[in-house]
């Protein structure tokens, strides 16, 4: 059965973010957040990466159960993280977790363990700052992802299939991204095809949409395009996804519209789950 490979240090998988950094990302999104879309994208990327790192953290260490990579596309393609992680497109999750660009202190209310709450300063890692400049070479970014993942799969032929998370407002300026995305999804390890997720950060108003099974209620053609480019969640992920999102129906795709996709990290089976017991 596909999508059942174990995700472990001896058989890691990878997450590759494709991040829209084009000029249009300076526009306000449709969620009345007061942030521009680029800020929304940075927040989304940082929170998903944080959750991905968190899932590999054991004690004070981070187990390299997967690699994380980024490809930014705007004025030009930018391959890999910046700061201490600059160099390779894909970095082991331990390096990503230990070397964020910076760590910000934020106040939040936490459980005091005795039934109350108290305000604590909590550290938030930041890997990615908002950027909005130039065109939207999404096709080129997807082709670059193809090349990065071909290499990864050649090195890890039995891996749980790599997951691509494309975060964009959907307006590619270098052609139709559907054909290259089909090629990307055609890439496969022995355990199944590469999974492509698309998170649409849009200026269109409307309630967030997460993991829909049909395009019936999507607000515009860009959302429809990104929905078509999104892989259906395989049964193994669907089952786990339902513990966080019980309403997800069969055929749900890895697509979100102005939504928080950080829960995605929990769709992968990497051990006994504690969510039901928190």
């Amino acid at each position: 059965m596909p999508y059942t490979a174990e995700i472990s240090r001896s058989n890691p998988t990878c997450f590759l973010f494709l991040i829209d950094q084009s000029g249009s990302m300076a526009d306000a999104p449709g969620d009345n957040s007061g942030r521009n879309k680029a800020e929304g994208v940075a927040k989304a990327v940082n929170s998903i990466i944080q959750e991905l790192v968190y899932r590999c953290a054991k004690g004070e260490h981070i187990l390299d159960r997967y690699y994380i990579g980024v490809i930014g596309y705007g004025d030009e393609l930018s391959l890999g993280f910046t700061g201490d992680l600059a160099g390779e497109v894909l970095c082991p999750v331990s390096a990503v977790g230990n070397k964020p660009l910076r760590i910000e202190n934020r106040k939040m209310l936490v459980d005091d363990g005795a039934g109350g709450v108290l305000e604590q300063t909590v550290r938030f890692p930041v890997w990615f700052d908002p950027l909005a400049d130039g065109g939207t070479p999404m096709c080129e970014a997807i082709r670059a992802a193809h090349s990065v993942l071909s290499e990864f799969i050649a090195e890890h032929p039995r891996c749980f299939p790599p997951i691509v998370i494309n975060i964009t407002d959907g307006e590619a300026t270098d052609g139709d991204p559907e054909p290259p995305s089909e090629q990307l999804r055609a890439l496969a390890s022995e355990d199944g095809n590469v999974l492509m997720m698309n998170l649409h950060i849009s200026s269109q108003p409307g309630a967030p949409i997460l993991f829909p099974a049909s395009d019936a209620n999507l607000p515009d053609k860009y959302a429809n395009l990104l929905f078509r480019m999104s892989s259906p969640l395989p049964p193994t992920m669907l089952r786990l996804a339902r513990s966080s999102y019980p309403w997800i129906s069969d055929g749900a795709r890895g697509f979100g519209f102005n939504a928080d996709m950080a829960g995605l990290a929990k769709f992968l089976d990497i051990g006994t789950r504690v969510s039901a017991n928190r």
Binding site: V122, T272, N277
Partner: protein, 367 residues
């Protein structure tokens, strides 16, 4: 306290593809108190092994707390967990995990004598299971009774979960039932098997198919020793009755002080009442998430316990291939025993009959 006519042994193996450091089950046993415990740390939570270890150690050590009142010990155990972790400076991800707490299943059993013989009672949270067998009969499977009852989200005890929540949310199971006339009597040669979920699920699946999984375990692990007229039993590997237990490991460091780097088998044999009462529980998998040994030293059994009671053989450190003491310790059998266990588990995993997960097996036999 008189010794109980019990012997026990335990095996453990991390999930395939994982190192021993990633093993997050814990077990403990103490023949003197007749208490045995098993815990399966939830790998998604951090410091789960520390939590699992604290839970099992506390259970076997706190014999004055009734089994059915086990949850009342949780604030104390939680405090120990907090004290071991709170002073530490964590990286951001560990800090967040620490705020969320650690989670583990728990299974504790106590064997006690009453006027009519031995009985057992138990307490459990989650899917670590206990099986009571007599000959070719399975008398009790608990708390899960069917292989289909296992799932991804077992009930767990959290290091930050209030004890009343554990008690009242139906996560906590107890035997005997409050209204119960459960048959929990133990006769000679009866066995109690404690297993974490993957092996327990295999066990029930086999049983449901009309097979005797405990006999398969025997076949996989037992050594046909030379039969001794006075015992005449089909003994377990390296049991004291066959003279295979040596006393040479008295100077071995306790497993906990060096950290276990290899899967190990632990076997404890108390063949006769001994003048030195064993007050410290034997625990394996002592290395928790904290690298510094200082963090656990106060809690670990002293090697003196082994020294003071030479009948008790700890094999936890014996199986390391780089350990030269193995060569002349006269205790090659336990290593073989563990190898047999590893081979058997690997076969089961390869055949697809055993889910790949940490495996822990504790066998308690009534003599």
């Amino acid at each position: 306290m008189p010794e109980k006519p019990i012997k026990w042994r335990a095996f453990w193996l991390p999930k395939e593809g994982h190192s021993a450091e990633e093993y997050e089950d814990a077990f403990a046993g103490d023949v003197a108190s007749g208490r045995f415990a098993l815990s399966d740390g939830a790998s998604e939570s951090a410091f789960a092994r520390l939590w699992a270890n604290l839970l099992v150690e506390d259970f076997v050590a706190q014999r004055c707390v009734e089994v059915r009142d086990w949850h009342k010990r949780l604030p104390e155990v939680r405090q120990q967990w907090q004290e071991q972790l709170a002073p530490r400076q964590f990286p951001w991800h560990a800090e967040q995990k620490f705020r969320d707490g650690s989670f583990a299943t728990f299974l504790g059993v106590e064997i006690r004598s009453d006027g009519s013989g031995l009985r057992w009672q138990a307490v459990a949270v989650g899917d670590s299971c206990l099986f009571h067998t007599r000959g070719d009969q399975l008398l009790c499977a608990w708390p899960l009774e069917k292989s289909e009852q296992f799932n991804d989200s077992p009930h767990l005890v959290g290091s930050r979960t209030p004890k009343d929540e554990v008690n009242y949310n139906r996560a906590l199971r107890k035997l005997p039932h409050s209204d119960g006339d459960d048959q929990l009597q133990l006769l000679p040669d009866d066995r109690l098997w404690l297993m974490t979920d993957a092996l327990a699920q295999w066990f029930l699946t086999e049983y449901e198919s009309g097979r005797c999984p405990w006999q398969q375990i025997d076949e996989a692990l037992s050594v046909q020793c030379e039969e001794l007229p006075s015992h005449g039993h089909h003994c377990l590997a390296a049991c004291g009755n066959c003279g295979l237990v040596s006393e040479t490991d008295a100077d071995e460091p306790a497993a906990s002080e060096t950290g276990i780097s290899e899967p190990a088998a632990t076997q404890t044999e108390v063949s006769a009442p001994t003048a030195t009462e064993i007050n410290t529980p034997k625990t394996a998998a002592k290395q928790d998430d904290i690298p510094e040994p200082a963090a656990t030293q106060s809690k670990v059994p002293e090697s003196a316990a082994t020294r003071g009671a030479p009948e008790v053989a700890e094999y936890a450190q014996r199986n390391r291939p780089d350990d030269p003491s193995d060569l002349d310790s006269g205790a090659a059998e336990p290593a073989e025993d563990q190898q047999r266990f590893e081979r058997w588990i690997s076969q089961l995993r390869r055949s697809g009959r055993l889910r790949n997960d940490d495996v822990t097996l504790v066998e308690v036999r009534i003599l």
